[in-house]
C-alpha cells in the first residue's frame, strides 16, 4: 500500500532531527502568526493565487532567500567538519551525512537559490523593462512558480522522511544507480529537480515569448535594454538545455525504478553517456545563471556613472557569442575521462574562446565609468567586488580550460574554489546588486545604505578568506568532498582559515537580513519617488507603487534609453497614447493546486506508491485541461478606474 515508506524513514541522527525540528517549528510559527494576525485570506488572495508577475517575482525571491539560509547552514556544516572534525573519526557528522549535506548544498544553491532568484528577478523586471503589462501566459507563469516550490518542498522533505542523495549535486552513475544507492536519496534528488526543472523550462519559454511579442511599440531588438538581451541569451539556453536535463533525469529514473540500462555499468549501459548529457545541460546552466548577472551590471554601471552604456552592440554580440559557445564546451568538465588529445584540446580551446567575449564585457563596463560621474552606492560596490572576484575566477577558469592543467587540479578544491568564485562573485553579487538597485522601485523606499555597505564588505572579505585557501589546498592535493583527511598532511590550518571566512560571510548575510528589516521598519525615513537613481529604462517610468497593469498607457518609444532621453532632453516631443480599458488576469488557485499535486506525485514515485502517483497524474491532467477551458479569466479595468488609480499613485492623471 505505502510502497517503500515505513517508520524507518524518520530521521535517526541528531543533526537531521535538529534540522527537522527547527524547520518544523519555523513553519508552525509562521502558521500561528498568520492565524493570529488573521492574514490567511490576505495571503491567499493577494499573493498565492496572484498571477501578477510582480507578486510572483517577490514570492520567488522569498523562497530563494529561505533556501539560501538552508544552503548556508549546509555550507556551515561542511566547513565545520573540514576545519574541526576531519582529522579525527569521532565528529558529530558521519561520512554518510556529510555526503548528503554537500549534495544538498550544491543542489539547493543552484536550483532553489540561484534559479529562484533568477526567475524572481525576471518576473519583476522583464515585463516592466520592455514596457509590457504582463507576461505572455500568466497562468503558466504561476504554474511554473508552484512547480519550483514543489521541487523545493520535496528536497526539504527528504530531511524529515527518508534521506537525501549522497552522490553529489550531479549524481554520476554508477554511484547514483540502484546498485550503489538503493535508498530514496537519489530519487528525491531526481524528482525535486525534475519538477523544478519543468517549471524552469515552462517559465523560460513564457518569458522568451513575452520578450519577442510584447515589447512596447517602437522598441526594436536593438533598442532593448541590454539586460533584456542577457535574458534572451539565458532563456534560449533554458529552452535548449533543460529538455536535456529532463531527458537525462528520466533515463536515470527509469534505470532506478524499472530496471532499464541506460547508464548502468553492465548490460550495455554507459555511465559516460550520463556524464556527457548532464554536462550538456550543466554547462549551459552555468551561463543561464551568469548571463542575467551580466545584464544587471550592464544596467547598473550606466545608471550609477550617469552615462550611456559603452559599446551596446559589442555587449549584445558578446552575450550572443557566449550563449552560443556555452553549448560547445561541456566536455571540459571531464578531461580526465580519457577522450583523447584531439577532443580534449578542442574543448579546451572552445572554453578559452568564451574568455574573449567575457573579457570584452568587462572592458566595456569599465569604459562606461570612463568620463562618467560614478556614484558608489551599494549596487556599484557589488559591481566593483564582482569585477575583482570574477576576474580572478576567470583566470583560474582559463587555467582549468587547459587540459594539461586540468589533469592536475580537476576534482580538487582548486576547482571548488573556482566555481564558487564565479557563482558567488558573479551570480550572487549580481543578484545582490540587482536587489539593491530595484528594491526602491517595488517598495517605495531605499535599502539602508550603511548596513548594505557593511554587508558587502563582509561578503567580499569573507569570500576571499573562505576561498583563497581552497585554491591552495587544491594545489596541495586536497580532493573535493573529503569528510576526513590525515592530520599529518598539514591541511587543517587552511581549512580553519576557510571556516573563518565562512563566518565572515555569515556576518554579511546577517547584516543583509538586518538591512532589510531595518529598512522596512524605517521605511518612512527612507521613502523615495518612482525614479530614485535617475534611471534610464522603462521600469523607472511608471509610478511607485506600481499599478497591477504596470503602465496606464503604452506610449511608443523612440530611443534606446527612451526614459532618460525624455527626462534630459526637454526639447523632445513626448509621445502619447490613448487610455484604453486594460485586461488583467484574475487570480486563480490552479497554480497552487498543480504544485500540491506535483509534490504528491513526486513523493509517490520516490516511495513507489504507484496508485497515488497515478491518481495524482490523472488529476493533474484533468485539472490542466479544465483550466484551459475556462473563459472568465480576465478582469477589465475601466478608464475611470485607471484615471482614479493613476491620480492616487502619481498625484496627477495619466
Amino acid at each position: 500500500m505505502w510502497g517503500r515508506l515505513s517508520l524507518d524513514a524518520l530521521p535517526h541522527d541528531m543533526i537531521t532531527i535538529g534540522g527537522v525540528v527547527g524547520g518544523g517549528l519555523a513553519i508552525l510559527a509562521g502558521i500561528a502568526a498568520l492565524k493570529y494576525f488573521k492574514k490567511w485570506r490576505w495571503l491567499w488572495t493577494n499573493w498565492l493565487t496572484s498571477l501578477d508577475p510582480k507578486k510572483i517575482g517577490v514570492m520567488y525571491l522569498v523562497v530563494a532567500t529561505v533556501m539560501l539560509l538552508r544552503g548556508l547552514a549546509d555550507a556551515g556544516m561542511l566547513r565545520a567538519q573540514q576545519a574541526v572534525f576531519a582529522t579525527s573519526d569521532n565528529g558529530p557528522i558521519s561520512a554518510d551525512l556529510f555526503q548528503q549535506v554537500f549534495s544538498a548544498h550544491g543542489t539547493i544553491m543552484i536550483f532553489f537559490v540561484a534559479m529562484g532568484a533568477l526567475f524572481g528577478l525576471l518576473n519583476l523586471i522583464v515585463p516592466l523593462q520592455i514596457g509590457a503589462r504582463d507576461v505572455a501566459f500568466p497562468l503558466l507563469n504561476s504554474i511554473s512558480f508552484w512547480l519550483f516550490v514543489a521541487g523545493m518542498v520535496l528536497i526539504n522533505l527528504s530531511l524529515a522522511v527518508g534521506e537525501f542523495s549522497t552522490a553529489g549535486w550531479l549524481a554520476y552513475p554508477p554511484l547514483s544507480g540502484l546498485q550503489y544507492s538503493p535508498g530514496t536519496g537519489v530519487d528525491y534528488w531526481i524528482w525535486s529537480l525534475q519538477i523544478a526543472g519543468i517549471g524552469s523550462l515552462l517559465s523560460g519559454i513564457n518569458f522568451l515569448i513575452t520578450i519577442f511579442t510584447m515589447r512596447r511599440p517602437g522598441m526594436s531588438l536593438m533598442k532593448m535594454p541590454i539586460f533584456i538581451w542577457s535574458v534572451i541569451g539565458c532563456l534560449l539556453l533554458v529552452a535548449f538545455a533543460f529538455p536535456i536535463l529532463t531527458a537525462t533525469l528520466s533515463m536515470l529514473s527509469l534505470d532506478r525504478t524499472i530496471g532499464t540500462h541506460f547508464f548502468t555499468s553492465e548490460m550495455g549501459g554507459n555511465p559516460m553517456m550520463y556524464v556527457n548529457l548532464i554536462w550538456a545541460w550543466g554547462h549551459p546552466e552555468v551561463y543561464i545563471l551568469i548571463l542575467p548577472a551580466f545584464g544587471i551590471f550592464s544596467e547598473i554601471v550606466p545608471v550609477f556613472s550617469k552615462k550611456r552604456l559603452f559599446g551596446y552592440t559589442s555587449m549584445m554580440l558578446a552575450l550572443m557569442a557566449i550563449t552560443f559557445l556555452s553549448f560547445t564546451v561541456w566536455l571540459h568538465h571531464f578531461f580526465t575521462m580519457g577522450s583523447g588529445a584531439n577532443v580534449n584540446a578542442f574543448f579546451g580551446i572552445m572554453t578559452m574562446v568564451i574568455a574573449i567575449p567575457t573579457g570584452v564585457k568587462v572592458f566595456n563596463w569599465i569604459f562606461t565609468m570612463y568620463r562618467g560621474r560614478v556614484k558608489f552606492a551599494t549596487p556599484m560596490l557589488w559591481f566593483m567586488g564582482f569585477v575583482v572576484t570574477f576576474t580572478i575566477g576567470g583566470l583560474t577558469g582559463v587555467l582549468l580550460a587547459v587540459p594539461g592543467i586540468d589533469y592536475q587540479v580537476h576534482n580538487s578544491l582548486f576547482l571548488v574554489a573556482h566555481f564558487h568564485n564565479m557563482i558567488i562573485g558573479g551570480v550572487l553579487f549580481g543578484f545582490f546588486a540587482g536587489v539593491a538597485y530595484w528594491w526602491p522601485k517595488f517598495t517605495g523606499f531605499y535599502l539602508h545604505e550603511g548596513l548594505g555597505k557593511v554587508a558587502f564588505w563582509c561578503w567580499l572579505i569573507g569570500f576571499l578568506v573562505a576561498f583563497l585557501p581552497l585554491y591552495a589546498l587544491g594545489l596541495m592535493g586536497a580532493a573535493r568532498r573529503l569528510d576526513g583527511y590525515d592530520a599529518s598532511l598539514g591541511w587543517q590550518g587552511l581549512f580553519i582559515v576557510a571556516g573563518v571566512g565562512m563566518v565572515i560571510i555569515l556576518a554579511g548575510v546577517f547584516f543583509q537580513i538586518v538591512q532589510a528589516g531595518y529598512s522596512i521598519w524605517k521605511r518612512d525615513e527612507l521613502r523615495v519617488g518612482s525614479d530614485p537613481w535617475d534611471g534610464r529604462t522603462l521600469e523607472w517610468a511608471t509610478s511607485t507603487p506600481i499599478a497591477e497593469y504596470n503602465f496606464a498607457t503604452l506610449a511608443p518609444v523612440t530611443y534606446r534609453d527612451d526614459f532618460w532621453e525624455q527626462k534630459h532632453r526637454p526639447e523632445l516631443k513626448k509621445p502619447t497614447a490613448l487610455i484604453e480599458p486594460i485586461r488583467v488576469p484574475k487570480n486563480t488557485g490552479i497554480g497552487v493546486i498543480v504544485g500540491l499535486l506535483a509534490v504528491v506525485i513526486g513523493f509517490a514515485i520516490i516511495w513507489h506508491i504507484w496508485w497515488l502517483a497515478i491518481i495524482g497524474l490523472v488529476t493533474t491532467i484533468v485539472l490542466i485541461i479544465t483550466a484551459t477551458l475556462r473563459e472568465d479569466t480576465e478582469r477589465i479595468v475601466s478608464i475611470d478606474e485607471i484615471m482614479a488609480k493613476e491620480k492616487r499613485l502619481r498625484g496627477t492623471s495619466a
Binding site: E266, T336, G340, G404, M476, A479, R481
Partner: protein
C-alpha cells in the same frame, strides 16, 4: 552642491584596507612557510613538471589582461568618482569607440590564440594514453579502484599490492586503470595527471618519477561512504630495490586469485597495505569482464587489456 572635503582614511576604510592587507600578507606568509607542501607546484615527475610550467605560463599570459583590468577599474573608479567634478571630464552621451572596442576584441583574441596553440601542443604532449619515451624498459602496473581501496597488479612481476604502489625511479610507469566500484579517479599530485577509473573501461596513464621518494596518491571522485579514506602510497625506489622487493613479494604466501579478490573487493574502510603473489595473471581482464556485455566484449577484449577506448580518440 558642495560637500566639505572628507578625509580619505575614515576608520571604516582603514578597517577594510587592513583586512585586505591581512589577506594578502597571510597568503604571502603561507607561500613562504608552506610553499614546499604544495604538491602541484613542487613536481617530482616528468609529467607534473610540464604541467607546472603550463600553470605558470598560463598565469603570466592571463596577467596581461588581468593586471590592466584591475588598474583601469580602480583608476577610473577613483578619477571619475562623483565628487571629483573639477578634475574629471564628463561625457554622458559617449557610448562607444570603434577603435577602442576593436582593441579589446583583439587583445584577448591574440592571447587566446597563443594559448590555443600551446593548449593544442601540450594536450597532445601530455596525452595520458601516450606512453613516455625512455631508454629504460617501462614498468606496467594494472590499477583497480575498489570500494574503498586501490589494488595494484604487476603482471610481469606476478605480484599485487593494496594501497601501496612501488616503481623504479627515472623509469616510465604505464598504468592501466579500471574500477570495480563507482567511478573513481587516480591521482598522484607530485607526479602529475589524474585519470578516471571506470567499470569495464581501461584508462591509461604514463608517469615517471625523477628520483626516489614517497608520494601521496588519492582518489578525487566520490565513490561512496569511504571515499575520503582512499589514500595510497606511491613509492619510487632504485631499480635494484624494486627488483629485490618484487622478488620478495612474489614469494609471499598470500595469493591473489578470483576468490581472494572477491573478498578484497567487498566494501571496506581503513584497508591496511597488503602484498600478494598474483596467482591469477588474467585477473585484471576478469575484473573488467564483469561489466562487459556480449555486444561490446567481442570488440574490446584484446590481450593487453586495453579497452576500445580509442574509439573516442
Amino acid at each position: 552642491m558642495k560637500k566639505s572635503r572628507q578625509p580619505f582614511f575614515t576608520p571604516w576604510r582603514i578597517a577594510i584596507l587592513a583586512c585586505l592587507v591581512l589577506i594578502i600578507a597571510g597568503l604571502g606568509t603561507f607561500l613562504l612557510l608552506d610553499g614546499k607542501n604544495i604538491a602541484v607546484l613542487n613536481p617530482r615527475g616528468i609529467v607534473a613538471d610540464k604541467e607546472k610550467d603550463l600553470i605558470i605560463f598560463t598565469v603570466l599570459l592571463g596577467s596581461v589582461v588581468v593586471v590592466p583590468v584591475f588598474i583601469m577599474l580602480f583608476a577610473f573608479a577613483w578619477k571619475y568618482r562623483e565628487g571629483n567634478t573639477k578634475a574629471a571630464k564628463y561625457t554622458p552621451e559617449a557610448d562607444g569607440n570603434r577603435v577602442i572596442e576593436v582593441i579589446w576584441w583583439g587583445i584577448p583574441l591574440i592571447i587566446i590564440g597563443v594559448l590555443s596553440v600551446v593548449t593544442w601542443t601540450s594536450t597532445h604532449d601530455l596525452d595520458p594514453y601516450k606512453a613516455l619515451e625512455s631508454d629504460k624498459e617501462a614498468v606496467s602496473i594494472q590499477v583497480v579502484a575498489l570500494q574503498w581501496k586501490w589494488l595494484f597488479m604487476y603482471p610481469e612481476q606476478g605480484i599485487a599490492t593494496v594501497n601501496e604502489v612501488r616503481f623504479p625511479e627515472d623509469t616510465p610507469v604505464n598504468f592501466t586503470i579500471t574500477a570495480d566500484a563507482p567511478m573513481s579517479a587516480f591521482w598522484i599530485p607530485n607526479l602529475g595527471t589524474q585519470t578516471y577509473a571506470m567499470n569495464g573501461m581501461s584508462s591509461q596513464l604514463s608517469l615517471q618519477a625523477h628520483e626516489t621518494g614517497e608520494y601521496r596518491g588519492s582518489n578525487t571522485n566520490i565513490n561512496g561512504e569511504g571515499y575520503s579514506e582512499m589514500d595510497f602510497k606511491a613509492i619510487s625506489t632504485t631499480r635494484q630495490e624494486f627488483d629485490l622487493w618484487t622478488k620478495a613479494v612474489a614469494g609471499s604466501d598470500k595469493h591473489l586469485d578470483w576468490t581472494t579478490y572477491e573478498q578484497l573487493a567487498r566494501p571496506s574502510k581503513d584497508q591496511p597495505v597488503v602484498y600478494y603473489m598474483l596467482h591469477q595473471p588474467k585477473l585484471y581482464d576478469m575484473i573488467r569482464g564483469k561489466y562487459m556485455d556480449m555486444n561490446s566484449a567481442s570488440s574490446s577484449k584484446d590481450s593487453s587489456g586495453t579497452m576500445n577506448h580509442e574509439g573516442m580518440h
